[in-house]
């Protein structure tokens, strides 16, 4: 039971706990904050899996940029209070039950695979380093990389189209 294990369990529990709170907390702003917590926990996992680059990007892009964006929007619409009217209980229950059963069937399906021997290697290997990632990103993955620029372009244009006042 090394430190990594402790950390693993801690982060996992933190992530799940945070996730649940994201879903159940009444105040949207709280949800956002809890989501950030989840992201932090996941970044922690990345570090454990020595994917340092991803860990950082995750923090910067997600926990930083995106979540801030969300917060902005909330502020913009000042929905910080519990303005959200309650969905009727039955739908809620139905939702939870369905989500739970989805978990159930997924687990049931995956349990049958014996992955005992399969290990996610820890604190070893340097594929997560920005150097290696960069290299293969600009060699093998150059096409998708360029293509993704199209994605951004379209997103950009789209936001302009939507946002522009007429």
């Amino acid at each position: 039971m090394g430190i990594t294990h402790v950390l693993f369990w801690f982060l996992s529990i933190l992530a799940i706990f945070g996730a649940i709170l994201v879903v159940i907390s009444k105040n949207p702003v709280h949800s956002v904050l809890w989501l950030i917590v989840v992201f932090v926990a996941i970044s922690g996992h990345y570090i454990l899996l020595d994917a340092q680059f991803l860990a950082i990007v995750n923090l910067i892009v997600y926990a930083g940029a995106i979540m801030v964006l969300f917060l902005f929007v909330f502020m913009l619409m000042n929905l910080n209070a519990e303005t959200e009217p309650q969905k009727n209980r039955w739908l809620k229950i139905a939702g939870v039950v369905t989500g739970g059963s989805l978990l159930l069937v997924l687990v049931a399906a995956l349990k049958r695979a014996d992955l005992k021997t399969q290990i996610a290697q820890m604190n070893k290997g340097d594929i997560g380093l920005i150097h290696n990632l960069g290299l293969s990103l600009f060699q093998d993955y150059v096409v998708p990389f360029e293509i993704s620029s199209v994605l951004f372009l379209s997103a950009m244009v789209g936001v302009v189209v939507i946002g522009k006042r007429e």
Partner: protein
């Protein structure tokens, strides 16, 4: 490759065209030019003339995909020619709309030629994100907004599913790559369940994109809410090209363990056929009816996926062509109608004989009556499954559903020809419009008499890459 590049570039061109000129005609002509070039570029691709870029096996070009591209581009061209003017009515940002359309086409070109799940994912996203926008492009119209939001929320949800699927497949693959042709290696029996789960989730997300039941719920609302021009675009070009990607994925990726997933496809197909056809019966608005009919047609296309043999791939292309042309034609007329309900079509034959006649041909094609492309499209689908020898019950079920489809397609014909009324278009359609419709009708008929004209390419093209 040409197509991907050109579409992306031309997207940017269109983006800036809005700055340099305010003349909508100029913009539209630029777009048309672009599409023509795109078509040529694709032909070049097909004949092996292409800019050589090392894609590191991320893309794989074959006749099937490229022909699919060709169909998509050609249909887009027809759509723009027929309904270009109507795009102007949607909003002021004509240039941007065209830009987005070109980006979508770029995505299409990727989805039809991807060779790794990553490219598939990117392609799908490049298609989806502009579509969210186009759906909501009629900003003052609440229906359009609502459609956009629904589409977006559910779309991103399905993206999540797809990614989980991809992750599982990645975990199951022995080589640790995303190339579709070595996703499954017989050695990795232990990880079989992971593989299957991934496959299922991928299947579900793709089914969502092609609006197959029970993942079709977004379709009627989105198609109904979106500006009709873009509905036409989504319902035809986007849908069929994703279908081609769909078939491609399962053919290359999961072809050899068909037995593992055929049953799921069968279930989805049956559900789609049933829900699509039966629900369409009671619709009051032709637009919404067409939305459901597109679901029904998807059900038929799924038969190709079920059988997954040479016949079904040919049939897929034929279906793509026949279905797109017919649907674009109908939508082109629908856009011009005063009233989108069935009553709106009453007596159209007297007001606009040409429109009525052509629409009739398109509807007959959708219903799968011989002498129209739709017949051979359906024929190939049925033939594909029959030749595979399994799931004959599904074939029977499919034809019964096709019989149901006659009900709602013929309602339009009845309205146009046999009902009294003064349903007509908003403005007298131009001669060019009519002429083009006639051409489309002719295309449908040609496909209905010599499908070889299209499918000939599959066998004739000497493909090299």
């Amino acid at each position: 490759m040409n197509a991907i590049l050109l579409s992306a570039i031309w997207g940017i061109v269109m983006m800036f065209s809005g700055i340099f000129t305010k003349s909508k005609t100029a913009i539209r002509n630029t777009a048309i030019l672009g599409l023509v070039l795109l078509l040529l570029a694709n032909c070049a691709d097909m004949t092996g003339m292409h800019v050589s870029i090392n894609v590191h096996k991320m893309l794989y070009f074959d006749t099937f995909g490229l022909l699919g591209n060709g169909i998509a581009f050609a249909s887009t061209l027809l759509l723009v020619l027929l309904s270009g003017r109507d795009m102007e009515k949607v909003g002021h940002n004509l240039a941007e709309y065209f830009a987005l359309i070109f980006f979508v086409l770029c995505g299409v070109a990727i989805v039809t030629t991807f060779n790794t799940l990553l490219m598939l994912f990117l392609g799908i996203e490049i298609i989806s994100i502009p579509l969210y926008i186009l759906t909501g492009s009629d900003k003052r119209n609440l229906k359009s907004n609502e459609a956009a939001l629904k589409y977006f929320l559910m779309g991103s949800f399905s993206t999540g599913l797809m990614l989980l699927g991809i992750a599982f497949l990645y975990g199951a693959s022995a080589t640790g790559t995303f190339f579709i042709d070595d996703l499954w290696s017989a050695g990795a029996v232990k990880t079989n369940p992971v593989f299957i789960s991934g496959l299922l989730l991928l299947l579900v997300s793709m089914a969502f994109k092609v609006s197959a039941a029970p993942f079709h719920f977004w379709t009627p609302d989105v198609y109904d809410g979106a500006p009709t021009v873009f509905t036409s675009f989504m319902a035809t070009i986007v849908k069929v090209s994703i279908f081609i990607g769909f078939v491609r994925l399962f053919d290359e990726g999961f072809g050899e363990n068909q037995d593992k997933w055929q049953i799921f496809v069968a279930i989805i197909t049956a559900a789609t056929l049933f829900i699509g056809n039966v629900t369409a019966v009671f619709q009051q608005s032709v637009k919404r009816m067409l939305a459901y009919s597109s679901i029904a047609q998807a059900g038929f296309m799924l038969l190709a996926l079920l059988a997954l043999n040479s016949v079904s791939k040919q049939g897929m292309l034929l279906y793509a062509a026949a279905y797109s042309v017919a649907t674009i034609g109908i939508f082109a007329v629908l856009i011009r109608m005063k009233d989108y309900t069935f009553e709106g079509f009453n007596g159209l034959a007297r007001q606009q004989p040409v429109l009525a006649a052509t629409v009739t041909i398109f509807l007959l094609s959708l219903a799968g009556i011989p002498l129209t492309g739709g017949f051979f499209a359906k024929y190939y689908m049925l033939a594909a499954v029959v030749s595979s020898g399994h799931y004959l019950w599904l074939v029977i079920f499919a034809v019964l559903c096709a019989a149901v489809s006659v009900y709602y397609y013929f309602r339009v014909i009845q309205a146009m020809y046999f009902k009294e009324g003064d349903g007509t278009t908003e403005a007298e359609p131009s001669a060019g419009f009519k002429g083009l419709l006639v051409v489309l009708a002719a295309v449908v008929l040609v496909l209905g008499i010599w499908p070889q004209t299209l499918l000939g390419f599959l066998s004739k093209l000497p493909y090299t890459w």
